[in-house]
């Protein structure tokens, strides 16, 4: 099994950390993983994306041009990546910032009000955990428990944020799992 994930959004939305958490969790599950960021003269508000591969086999090409799953946090990102998603793939759309429809009936589309959910839980900073929850409900790339334990490990210096981010993750997860879209 090979998951190829693109996560894209504005700089500052936490897309790089999202990808890293996914890669950490994959690694913790004994999979082969790679994380490849876009890099450049970037700034808060500019676009940013990363490609994560989680695979049973060693990773060859670390680039992803046909993702099996994607999280699109804003409209410019969606414009860039929606055509490439593999047939049968999963697309998490940030419904809070993306209004347009995606003209692809051959993929699973999940419109999640990511910003609203995070704000409702107290902080917009948690949008990335909402998005990851949604992704893992749509496709079983790594177990939710593993992802949360990797979060706890990565942010061990900030134990205070664990409970709220777990709640954010759970609400994103439920939003897709229970199809309250």
């Amino acid at each position: 099994m090979k998951h190829e994930v693109i996560i894209a959004g504005f700089g500052g939305q936490g897309v790089m950390v999202m990808g890293q958490l996914l890669a950490y969790a994959g690694m913790a599950e004994g999979k082969h993983v790679s994380w490849m960021p876009s890099y450049g003269p970037e700034m808060r508000g500019g676009t940013a994306n990363c490609a994560v591969i989680i695979s049973d086999e060693p990773v060859g090409d670390p680039l992803v041009s046909e993702p099996t799953a994607a999280i699109m946090m804003n409209s410019p990102s969606l414009d860039k990546f929606w055509r490439g998603i593999k047939t049968g793939g999963d697309l998490i759309l940030n419904g809070s910032l993306i209004e347009k429809e995606v003209g692809r009936n051959d993929i699973h589309r999940y419109r999640v009000p990511i910003n609203q959910i995070a704000v409702g839980l107290g902080s917009e900073k948690m949008i990335n955990m909402v998005a990851l929850g949604a992704l893992l409900a749509a496709v079983n790339i790594v177990s939710p428990e593993r992802l949360l334990s990797c979060f706890a490990k990565k942010f061990a210096a900030k134990p205070a944020i664990l409970a709220s981010n777990t709640a954010a993750f759970q609400q994103g997860y439920d939003c897709v799992a229970k199809r309250t879209l």
Partner: protein, 355 residues
């Protein structure tokens, strides 16, 4: 066994260097290798080492020259335009037979170029780069784990042969994260009785000098260097051969390109095509005889590089132009897709669209 950690290639080079006993680093920041200088700034003081951000690349390489002369395990790093600035110093270091590690995380060129990945510094790295008849040992990792393992190897080779070693990576390898451990990164320290560390108990001072005004003396220096390079060519070539035994088409690529090529080669194998991959790990000394062996069954070769075609010249020399050699390259910081390579494999093997 130590636990694997998820790290960027740039950071892995830094940690491996420290594990291999590097305690001195001089450099100047440049994208896409700045994580390495940042890592050394943080880590070296923790292990009692010395980090110094120089005023320029030229200053940094000359600080490396000095530290290497004093027998230290020392490293500098930069990216393409910065490495060009270091060339004079590298020539001096090679002439003085001083061990050091120089990292080039290549970006698109020429000129200031861009900051996205490239492999267009192959000629500069493998053919000397500065003035005079000299070579750096040039090592090309293709994963974050190899960034670590080969960095440690680089320090050990540098000391063993008293020669500068260049790690030739690219922006993609520097920026990407993969699991890595540092189990195999060991410092194999050697005595350096030649180092300029003060008289001590010696009765004759050590000196490091690259000026030889007497032509006879200078020729002796060159003969000595060439003997070392000849030894390196017989002893230190490294390469990886995948499915080459029965390969009718041999793809040759190094560094990040070899990863992209491997995905295409795998796909072609799945389709029953006899395609193999040959990956030089040392770019200098170039694994000529290994390549000549790998290519025996092949009727054609496809070289893949992020350049307009540089390593392809060494491939042609190694196989003495005995096969048809095709090329696929991207420049400007663009990377080919594995499907682009696959399409070309198809074209070469079955030009009429299948047989």
């Amino acid at each position: 066994m130590l636990e694997k950690v998820l790290m960027k290639g740039n950071e892995a080079i830094g940690e491996a260097a420290i594990a291999a006993g590097c305690r001195y680093y001089f450099g100047y920041p440049i994208t896409p290798q700045s994580e390495l200088i940042e890592y050394m700034a943080k880590r070296l003081p923790e292990v009692g080492g010395m980090f110094l951000q120089a005023e320029s690349e030229v200053a940094a390489i000359n600080m490396v020259y000095g530290a290497a002369g004093a027998g230290a395990r020392v490293m500098t790093s930069s990216s393409s335009p910065g490495v060009s600035l270091k060339q004079e110093g590298i020539s001096y270091i090679a002439a003085g037979e001083l061990p050091c590690v120089i990292v080039n995380i290549m970006r698109g060129g020429p000129g200031l170029g861009g900051i996205q990945p490239g492999q267009a510094d192959y000629f500069q790295a493998t053919k000397g780069g500065g003035h005079g008849d000299y070579h750096c040992i040039v090592i090309a990792p293709n994963s974050v784990q190899e960034m670590a393992d080969l960095t440690a190897l680089a320090f050990n080779l540098a000391d063993r042969y008293r020669n500068p070693v260049m790690i030739l990576g690219d922006g993609a390898l520097g920026q990407m994260m993969e699991p890595v451990n540092f189990d195999s990164c060991k410092a194999m320290l050697t005595d350096k009785p030649w180092a300029t560390t003060g008289m001590g108990t010696r009765d004759k001072p050590n000196s490091i000098n690259t000026l030889q005004l007497q032509p006879e003396k200078l020729e002796e220096v060159n003969v000595h260097l060439q003997a070392k390079y000849a030894l390196l060519q017989t002893q230190e070539t490294r390469s990886e051969a995948i499915w080459t035994d029965d390969a009718e088409l041999l793809v040759v690529a190094y560094g990040i390109s070899s990863r992209i090529a491997l995905s295409a080669v795998k796909r072609a194998r799945d389709q029953g095509m006899k395609v193999g991959l040959f990956r030089p790990i040392t770019l200098w000394p170039f694994p000529k005889s290994e390549l000549a062996d790998a290519v025996k069954m092949a009727s054609a070769v496809l070289v893949v590089e992020l350049s307009s075609g540089q390593m392809i010249e060494d491939v042609n020399l190694a196989i003495r132009c005995s096969k048809q050699v095709y090329f696929q390259g991207r420049t400007g910081g663009m990377m080919m897709k594995s499907s682009d390579i696959y399409d070309q494999i198809l074209q070469i093997i079955a030009p009429q669209g299948g047989n």
